[in-house]
């Protein structure tokens, strides 16, 4: 168990700048999720923590001790890989015992830990099987077991659920999270799935283009994003952005409709509005915008509308009966306090 500090870490691949001055503090026992689009550098950051990538600058420290110069073997970190990386020629038991044997643990201690992990993960009946004879979910559990038995400084997860089907993925999220809570081991979890990030992380770091955009609890990121990238990445369906020109609290859309914004701004802005904050029925204090429906999908439990506003597509989640049809003009309503305002530089105006 350890806290991990990442200070100004840089990584170059040739001239490609993969990590740009990344700093992040992970508290002891915390479940930190690194989320971002593919190629954003989140996996590189994770692998740097593991020691599988050399960093070009900065410091990575565990419990205030720099580990930059330690090889992966010396860092006592366990990792769950995307494709599990189970040793195919070894049985489940041997997979779990591999690292313990290398570290020359007593046989009784190895057996104790394997039994503990197998009980916890429901693998007891499969200990003598080879990975090939296991289902995806079972392999996933073995990979976690292999990380667990070592009682490492930290768990690293590299998109571990991406090869599972949707139902199993949801199940495993809870399982991983419960396990980590029980063991209280610091965990760093990489995913590109923001729902996974929101449901699993104590805190989330949103990574983009080799840098961290924002760190915070899931709710902080949802309610109070620092910029358009975070606002657009966190939340499902994604936030709608409407471009406008602002003068104080007044913002004028391209077609001349006027919206009152909760903060003062000047010049070109983007107004962010989450689909779940738009209503088709007017309530008190609500503002109204006119737009045209382009299409809708009936998902059974809810309706997904797409409206056209000056060429921008606005997504709205609603319930109840279908209200409109393609091409019909319609009014949408929202609480102006739910609006987020972003400047031309995509930064939030508060």
């Amino acid at each position: 168990m350890a806290k991990i500090d990442i200070i100004n870490v840089q990584k170059y691949y040739g001239s490609y700048h993969a990590l740009r001055e990344v700093s992040l503090s992970i508290k002891e026992g915390e479940f930190m999720v690194l989320v971002g689009p593919s190629g954003c550098g989140k996996s590189t950051l994770l692998r740097s923590i593991a020691g599988l990538e050399d960093i070009s600058g900065g410091v990575i420290a565990a419990n205030d001790q720099p580990v930059n110069d330690l090889s992966p073997q010396e860092r006592n970190i366990a990792m769950v890989f995307q494709n599990y990386a189970l040793y195919p020629h070894l049985t489940v038991r041997e997979n779990l015992a591999f690292s313990l044997k290398i570290h020359k643990f007593e046989k009784s201690e190895i057996d104790r830990r394997i039994k503990l992990a197998a009980d916890m993960l429901g693998l007891t009946d499969y200990l003598s099987r080879r990975p090939k004879a296991l289902s995806g979910g079972q392999r996933q559990r073995v990979a976690m077991g292999r990380a667990m038995v070592r009682e490492p400084t930290a768990f690293l997860f590299d998109e571990p659920l991406s090869n599972l089907d949707a139902r199993l993925r949801v199940e495993m999220r809870t399982e991983i999270r419960n396990l980590q809570r029980k063991l209280r081991t610091t965990a760093v979890y990489v995913t590109h799935d923001q729902v996974e990030a929101m449901t699993m992380g104590d805190r989330i770091a949103v990574v983009n283009k080799g840098g961290i955009e924002q760190v915070g609890t899931p709710l902080e990121l949802y309610r109070d994003p620092n910029n358009m990238f975070v606002a657009g990445f966190i939340g499902s369906p994604p936030m709608n952005f409407i471009s406008a020109r602002a003068d104080g609290h007044q913002a004028v859309l391209e077609d001349g409709q006027v919206v009152t914004i909760p903060v003062k701004a000047h010049g070109d802005i983007s107004i962010g509005l989450r689909p779940e904050h738009i209503f088709l029925d007017k309530l008190e204090h609500h503002h109204t915008l006119k737009c045209k429906e382009s299409r809708h999908f009936d998902l059974g439990s809810s309706l997904q509308y797409f409206f056209d506003l000056n060429g921008t597509e606005i997504e709205v989640s609603a319930s109840g009966d279908v209200r409109s049809h393609s091409g019909v003009e319609i009014q949408i309503h929202f609480d102006p306090n739910d609006l987020l305002v972003f400047g031309a530089d995509t930064k939030r105006i508060r």
Partner: protein, 306 residues
Amino acid sequence: MRTTIQQPNSPQNGETFQFKPELLTLSRTWKPKAEEGRLRKMIFVWIALAVIVIFFMLPIAYLFSTSFKSPVDVVDGSFFPNAVEAENWPRAFAQVPLWSFMRNSILAAAFSVFVTLGVAVMATYAMLKLEVGKSFLPDMILASYVAPPIIALIPMFVLMQKLGLLNSIAGMVLIYGLMNVPVAFWLMRSFVLQVPKALDEAAWLDGASYFKTFFRVTLPLLYPAMIATGLICFILSFNELLFAQAMTFDSDSRTLPVGISLFQGERRVNFGQMAAASSAGIIPVYFIALFCQKWLIGGLTQGGVK
């Protein structure tokens, strides 16, 4: 040109287009609808296959058949002996020390395989997985494979002379062992690359050193590849002539190809005995070819086509 799928409204036949699951299998075998066409195609295939098999079996069959011919039958020009004469075989073994040649060949080839694998497997792993030597070393190995072996013949001859290894099986083991390294590298390459990098990384994080990772994780996964590579290298060494005939001088070290090539070069050689000796020399490799077919084809194709 006919099409395989009938047009929906083609006026020639009244049938309407129906989706037939069999159509999906057309990818591999195009089966004309007409029974007659299918028959014609089958006849063509059978004739073609027969020609192919006959062509590739012909010289071997002729060699074996000649080994049972009397001296009179040999000059007769017929394919099969008029009367089976088994005498050629024992006479060939009496004339030429075939057993020694065979022993030498098998020893040289077998031990050279261990040298080759010992050198090549770890090196292939280090070069491809740990990226030691970047692309320079693999390129060098490729270049050394392109270079004809005659380049090494004279210098190696002189080197072996100095080491006192001329005319010895040990010398041939060393020569073949090193000579086949590029081939082994080429064959092992795709097998090594198929082992996911994450497995090595998992082992490193588990605390295994680079050597331990290689021996406990990668190597066990490469056993099948090593068997295939080893068999191919064995056959290459077993069949080799150029170096063996330059560097071995007597029946204590001469290999089969050398012994038999010298035997056939003698002026008054009996064709029947020559054929018998050659047939005898082929048997060990055919044994391997038939029983280890799966490994050989697997090894060749993995290495040859990515």
